[in-house]
Symmetry: D2
Subunit: 378 residues, 4 copies
């Protein structure tokens, strides 16, 4: 196998795969090194919500990034289907953020006003209309914020499709290949070495290893302040769809999938790589979900799992160039928005590799200098 | 393949396999016809409790059968391990039936007196001693009935071991082979015909098809009053064992298995062959189990499943000769006691086939005449 | 639950689900009774080839049915995606039937002439062009018959989508519900009784139970000459697609699926409901497939399975009205063409239920009278 | 949780778990840190042969270690069953190393003479007797070396039982916890830091991470010359056992397991962490196995998998103290003998931690100094 590439990407999750796909489309030769299997960690564990407006509650670079990324999904879905045969199951049925108290109702209405000012569609649904639209929701809710443009995709399918599209378009992806160190010379990065002592060369290396990025950078003497946050989910099956839109409330979301399946999530347990699902977590999520939709009690149990999301101290992802090592790029810290942000992250990082966009707003907001601390290795 | 046998058994669950094993040890040529896979239905779904004293609350033929069957397990475990390499995981750690009210405490104490009169070991454990023996049980229980001789086995392992032992000892077991009709002549049964139109001959046929026995007999013009009762369970994993004995309370049991695994059960839904597990059932079982043992909240979710148990109108199994068709035997209706009763059922049915034991107490109590109604086929 | 319906369908495989979907679209109330789970047998085991021209080698009612059914897939794919969110993964990349000898080359060329005469697209591809189109095929082939309009779908997805679409459109599907007998009066059928003694009423009942249809009809005193044919398959995964079209040779097909997966099949073992895959079968299929495409040697092993296809004595399906029982319809015997023929079967049977199409060519060709033998129950 | 321990062990495979179990029995407080799940890598992938004499062909420290370890299994099996309820499925049916040529026959006979000289049981079985003992072996073999004392265990069960026994006896095992660096002071090691920045303290740390040990040591500036060797296997199921002993030939072994299951292995692919099983590998192993035992052709396909074994340059494991870092111990490089050597490795490493046995033969043979190269971190 060749061992010189234009760009090496570390990690074949949704972020690494999206960057790879964008780079090969720009004509770059790309190698992706994945320590386990493609899409084997949080990229497959996610519920796949595209909550650009649901979860991001004020104007900010992250909000604008999310909005732009959400807008890329319809075309991306067609492109991926065409290249790989994989349907990413893009649902554009909207999201309902339901209010369980007067206070939440007021809060959501203020939030709607803000969204509208920013040019986004959002509207208030009163309890009567909510029952019309979602008859199986519990009767005592105080209304809902309706966000017609937030939807969801199949997170595993999106990740597999992006990696398959990258490979079909010319990228090499090597699974079960763990990078143990970077190779540098006086001018910056020149490649990586794997745990089987193989060397691969490139003068651009992008770390997209999610919550696992930190160790690799630390071994290179650089401290990233990301930390893992475990999220537990479960899924059920129903014969007929029981909700039309994705239902979202504080502490609980219910995401309709193809064929009557629903994903319900999610817990948040910081500083843990543990992938076990506890009885307590299932009980808590079940309790909240069946309170919102009592008909879920009759749904069939399907599965439970956990994923490990990379969070940062200030809650913003790192998308940028390493401040000290020339040619080393980092794209991680997407926390609960990795699926939503994958399309735009792929595009921006590919641009960045070409030297484009360095001075844009988002590049400033998400640059590494805000937190990276270079430490001397003892 | 040969198609004449001394005995044909229909069903390779725990009952059919136990009968087959007993018959081949007596020198009989045996064919077992199983419509799906060995041990694929309730025989593998059971929690495997050997609750001879726990669940059977007064002296009766069924109680005596259960007690005798329980006593057969230690030797059977060794014999099966030796023949097949399969460990049936016989736990002899006893059972604690915990009282959650003064009324239950009184009831259980009366029951202990009865058991002792019958020569069985059973004793009252006060709340203090209960905490000594099971420190993770909730503190507010009113004590427990301790039954040192009730234990549990791995239900799937027992069934697989019995069928493997039968095959190793000479029985033929044909999986994916469904019997569609009996063949009879003026003197009684002479064989069966399968859904692939193959004929197998024997002048003794034993129906041991669990909840699925009824249809076959009905097709032959005979109505059995058994009905299916769905039972849902789930399992969890803990690093260290959190209970020593099997814990039993009204509506909930917690059965410790090898390696820190626990099975928690079970619901009862009559007249259903449905094998789906509902969210509601899991929530209810979780609630009861974590109330008894709060530490279960931290246990890791493992799996959930359902099994279909054959119940009868009077709650007693059918073990006997068909009243009208010479040579046709039936062994079903074991409800929640199929695992416990498998050893004795295997022995008794094998005896019955040889014409032994027809007049014994149990043979009278469980004979088919008490309920079977011969109906003319329209 | 209600228990009167316009039509009861027995079996929720691809045939029963397609009929149900067609009937509810015509405004009929429909109940589907499925003894196990939806799509749990051969409908999910199939490789999903739409081989209207590939496998059917002369003009005949079956060929015309297949051609018409194939033409229904593009619209059906859109309709099902829209109703259920499930992508049936319709591939329209064509089929290459490769010749491994001069004799096969001549035979296929004659066959192409016949197809063209019938107005179908088919053309001869010489060895050089074959290598251009499929560079990884072995070099020594004698050419191929190219059939641009034969493709493939995901058989499990098609079946799940049809059943979900039927349910969403108003059909009731009860899983784990086995019919044990028909209810009739002097005028014909009036309903069915299940193994839990529930009665459901309809004056039209359609048996679509695949290889399992025969027993039910036999219990009703009628002999159908269908028999089960076991087919074993396996699947592999490749990083990049290694073929463009479906590759077909005598005794082996290689069907490309989404994301680089390939299904390779299939054996044919008549008169067996056994679902085990033997080592010998895998070795034989591997040998043939890697001979055709040596690069398959490096593919990753994925899975192996078997399905049970319903075959008839003359190789034609039964689609029609029972000759003796008014209101009883039968749709089975599709053998290896169940997926391909599902759309047209659904439509024709729905028509037949309405009394339409009885005298059409196909209705004559596939009617039951050609073989059904009414037998007196002993 | 406490964070000071007497000993920290890195890796909860069969080696780490065995060391932990031995140390807690000696009264030590022990923490095991496992980056994934207990027994999730090669410890569960192994076929479990105890080939002390089969694979080790001349007198050597490794041979003596293997022999001693093999002798520990019977007592260990009882101890583990008692503590954890897990049966390690120790089979003591012996091993037959079959000769496929005159040359192999001569070679094996010389080897038998050597073994006997060393006091081991081994004898020559001529073709006639071989057929008596294993009637389903192919007829044309040239005889076999019979080794009555080599047997096999369930590798997953052994590993799970050792870790469960360690936990039950007081060890803490933290899964999903990856160590990223060692903490040292002037006197040697003082603890470790995990990828979630947790610090755990001990003045003895044992690296037992199998093929993954190297990266960790390298990050600490020390180069170990181990490398991963991928091994692929598959398993089948038979109704009745088809061999009595483990069958071993050059390039193929067939290991009988409980309930008629057989594991067949194994390939060897150096310098790979890849866990994919290729079609080519399965075909090659199937070919060899069915050549030895033609009846395997009718066996049912079960599963295929791969494991990653740690090999060293001279083929001997590393068992010893790090030459430069006080308190750092290493136990890896067991290659294909990890299961066989686990009991003795556990004991010897526990001794070594106590300062016992440093000067023994084996300690000299397997000490790290023979190969470890301290390198300065760039």
């Amino acid at each position: 196998m060749r061992n010189h590439f234009d760009v090496i990407i570390i990690g074949a999750g949704v972020i690494g795969s999206s960057i790879a796909f964008n780079l090969v489309k720009q004509g770059r030769s790309v190698l992706v090194l994945e320590k386990g299997r493609i899409a084997s960690q949080s990229s497959s564990a996610a519920a796949g919500m595209l909550g650009a407006q649901t979860e991001l509650e004020n104007d900010s670079p992250l909000f604008r990034l999310a909005r732009e990324s959400r807008g890329m999904f319809p075309d991306l879905a067609l492109e991926l289907k065409d290249l790989t045969g994989i349907d990413i199951e893009l649902y554009q049925n909207g999201m309902l953020k339901v209010a369980r108290s007067e206070e939440e109702a007021s809060e959501f209405q203020r939030f709607i006003a803000l969204q509208q000012k920013l040019g986004e569609e959002a509207s208030w649904i009163d309890p009567y209309e909510l029952q019309q639209r979602e008859p199986l929701l519990e009767k005592k809710l105080y209304g809902a914020m309706s966000i017609p443009n937030d939807g969801n995709v199949s997170a595993p399918n999106l990740t597999k499709a992006l990696s398959a599209a990258a490979m079909t378009s010319g990228a090499e992806i090597k699974e079960f290949t763990e990078v143990s160190e970077f190779v540098t010379d006086g001018n910056g990065i020149t490649g990586v070495i794997t745990t089987t002592q193989e060397a691969y060369h490139a003068d651009r290396v992008i770390v997209a290893g999610g919550a696992w990025s930190r160790r690799l950078l630390k071994d290179a003497g650089h401290e990233l302040d990301t930390y893992p946050v475990k999220g537990e989910c479960f899924s059920v099956k129903t014969e007929k769809p029981i909700v039309n839109a994705t239902i979202f409330s504080k502490g609980c979301y219910i995401v309709p999938k193809s064929g009557g399946r629903l994903i319900i999530g999610a817990t948040e347990k910081a500083h843990s790589f543990d992938q076990k699902v506890s009885l307590e977590s299932i009980a808590a999520m079940m309790g909240r979900a069946t309170e919102l939709i009592p008909a879920l009690n009759q749904a069939e149990w399907d599965d439970a799992w956990a994923g490990i999301r990379p969070q940062t101290k200030d809650g913003l992802p790192y998308l940028g160039v390493h401040p000290e090592i020339n040619g080393l790029f980092i794209a991680t810290g997407h926390y609960r928005n990795g699926i939503l942000l994958a399309p735009i992250t792929g595009k921006l990082m590919a641009d960045l590799v070409e030297g484009i966009g360095m001075n844009k707003d988002w590049a400033t907001a998400f640059r590494l200098e805000r937190n990276v601390i270079g430490v001397e290795k003892q």
